[in-house]
Amino acid sequence: MRGSRTVATVLALAVGTAVSAQAADVSVYSNTLVGGRPDIIDGQVKTVVPLYQLVGVRAKNIEVPGFDSLGVAVDAWGGLTLPNSSQGVAAGDVNLAFIEGAAFKKRLKLRLGRQFVVGGVARAMYFDGLFAEYRSNVGIGLSAFTGIPVDRRFANFIQGDFVVGTRAFFAPSFKTEIGASFIHMLQRGTVARQDAGLDARWQPFRSLGVGGAFVWSIADARMAEFDIGPRWTPSENFEVLLNYRRTAPDLFLPRNSIFTVFADTSRDDAGGNITWQPTKFLTLFADARVVWINAQPGFDASGRVQLRPFRSAATTLTAQYRRLQVPSANGFHQARLAARHVLPSGFGLSVDFETYALDQPVRGQTLSFSMSATATYTISKQWFVGATLFAATTPTFESRYEAVAKLTFLFPEGHH
């Protein structure tokens, strides 16, 4: 599979570096999950048992001559589904595998391997390749990356076979940053994505900030995305966030898809949310936004109350409600109640109940009910076990039961 050689090389380099160098800070994460759930195989509903092993290893501040610091990260998983599943018996992948280093008083940063690049038109670009960034002492900087986009799971869909991007920025402080960026992605020699954009964040006062981004599709000579949102935080327990966003959903399709010739739709949404913590143990949150899809309005509104009734973080009660109504389509009312309580002995219990009512029936049903209960036990500062039972009756499944057990190891404690 394309990209696996790159990942293999970086993995070998990562393990080699970790073994040969003196790592100042190593963290390890392991999560073993085993479950039981129904699956549709050859038109029949059968019970399958998926087993997953997730492992993450991170070594930082490795002392290597020529670098201020060097680090390696590997985050991978493997899975078996017995006796079989609709998605095959065995699966596995590498989520992250990179070596990164900083030099010249950490002004130059380099990263090689499977990684993310966050910022500007790259959004959260996931790729195998090389990233470099230089930041001067006055906050002016330039970053660039190139490599192969990582394929999405469960699909033979290939996002692209080559990507290159860059971002120039001016970040004189935490409070101010402005950037201009460009991305160019190819698939078999054809442009799959070619965007340029501007992004900015400005915080003129400690209580007031605004962030925004603008993305222009060069390939289609149209605006792909505009996003702006001021945030007002007059005190530590109160915040108001407003947001307006316009997207062209069809410009999120690869430009080498034939479907790009059929539409030039746009979607707008405007709204905001308020968070208020009248006491340390009570949080109220409300969100409301109007959605316009080709000038037809819909709305998405939700509210949430989170309470810690015993004035302690050990118990959390959550109640939330949401109403989503989409123009020329369906909608639903959704309600959820959840609670988590952790005893001093290390035992914890989480319960979750959710129901929603669709405006238009799906497969003749409008109601969905689902609930779960999870018991956990903290064996030590590093070891943690849990078991979950999930039951539901929904428009898709007349009845569905699922069980999950997990064993987690974190070293150092709580570090991941």
């Binding site: 393990v15 095959g88 962030g211 995305e225 849990g386």
Partner: protein, 350 residues
């Protein structure tokens, strides 16, 4: 992922597991013995700090440490030289003072003159008798002299902090994580990704953003019912509404064939011959499906993007039975010359 790909990755997964196991072993064999260091008694006896920590005057990094060697202790404690239990809690298996993780950049040598060799200016508390993790000078001790706001404004945490990712604190002012952070964080991340990386490792981002993950995050963290995971509980039955409300959001993570593969597997397409066809009656009529395609082409593409020749263009191509599929102002943005450069154009415009 294919079985072939899995088998190729197996050795590396095994290597990763071995590395993890090595970490586990390291955890269980360390920190058996502890050394008593009763600072209070030493202070009562008016022993100067530098008597034991004599290398502190030349110490330029905290990594070097300035802990006295055993022979320094024996300089005064001659009588106790044979009594290992005087200092070691497990004298039968004595170990050296364990190394401590160092997260700060700190030059003791440069500070000694400034504090006039008075260590208590910063070190208000000292281990007594056992060393713990919580007695290092608090940040307030630094800020009593250093004007932190300047470094903060300049985003220069790295001048002192090697690594902030281990802390669990959430910001309350700048980059506030209040409200529905899952939905709201994009604006901060887009223009200030480097600031996010001050506290968050890429492993944190990958839990949701990696397109290669093992399972949904709410499957991996079912106990975190306080979090607002997007796909929690019965997302399947309402996904068509959520997708219609924000098509671009789905498209960012899920490839088009993600939808098609699941629909085909569950008989939710016309080809399957079941009654679960998601299209309404009469959808083949251009007057019905045309407007839908114009306004919701991403949903069409989710199932039908199996290559240009397999779908709409069979009718919509030049000389085909259906009409011009291009949206208004198409020719303004795409001129005739593009036909020669773009293979998508050549599917219909021969």
């Amino acid at each position: 992922m294919s079985a072939a790909r899995s088998s190729r990755l197996l050795p590396f997964a095994a290597a990763t597991l071995l590395t993890a196991c090595a970490g586990f072993v390291g955890v269980f064999v360390s920190n058996q013995d502890t050394i008593r260091i009763p600072h209070a008694r030493h202070a009562e006896a008016e022993v100067e700090c530098a008597t034991c920590h004599e290398t502190i005057f030349d110490s330029t990094t905290v990594d070097e440490g300035s802990f006295p060697k055993e022979k320094t202790c024996f300089g005064c404690h001659k009588k106790e030289k044979a009594d290992c239990a005087f200092c070691h809690t497990k004298p039968d298996k004595p170990l050296p003072l364990p190394a401590r993780e160092r997260d700060l950049i700190m030059n003791h040598s440069a500070h000694m003159e400034r504090v006039k060799e008075d260590c208590t200016v910063c070190h208000k508390q000292l281990p007594n008798p056992f060393r713990t993790e919580f007695l290092a000078p608090p940040m307030d001790a630094c800020l009593s002299c250093h004007v932190h706001q300047e470094q903060y404004d300049a985003g220069n945490c790295a001048a002192c902090h090697k690594d902030l990712t281990k802390y669990k604190f959430r910001p309350v002012g700048d980059f506030s994580h209040k409200g529905d952070w899952v939905k709201n964080h994009r604006l901060d991340a887009r223009s200030s990704g480097a600031s996010c990386a001050t506290c968050h490792e890429q492993t944190f981002c990958s839990e949701c953003h990696a397109k290669t993950v093992a399972a949904k995050i709410d499957f991996i963290l079912p106990e975190r019912v306080d979090r607002n995971f997007i796909h929690r509980n019965d997302f399947v039955s309402r996904h068509m509404v959520e997708a219609r409300a924000d098509e671009a959001m789905c498209q960012r993570c899920h490839g088009l064939n993600f939808c098609q593969a699941c629909h085909a597997r569950n008989g939710l397409n016309p080809v399957s011959g079941t009654t679960l066809d998601p299209h309404p009656a009469g959808f083949g009529d251009g007057l019905v499906h045309g407007p839908v395609a114009r306004t919701d082409i991403v949903s069409c593409a989710a199932c039908h993007d199996q290559g240009a020749a397999s779908n709409c263009v069979t009718c919509h191509k030049v000389g085909g039975t259906a009409g011009n599929p291009h949206p208004p102002a198409w020719t303004v943005r795409h001129n005739q010359e593009e036909i020669g450069r773009n293979v998508m154009c050549q599917v219909c415009h021969l």
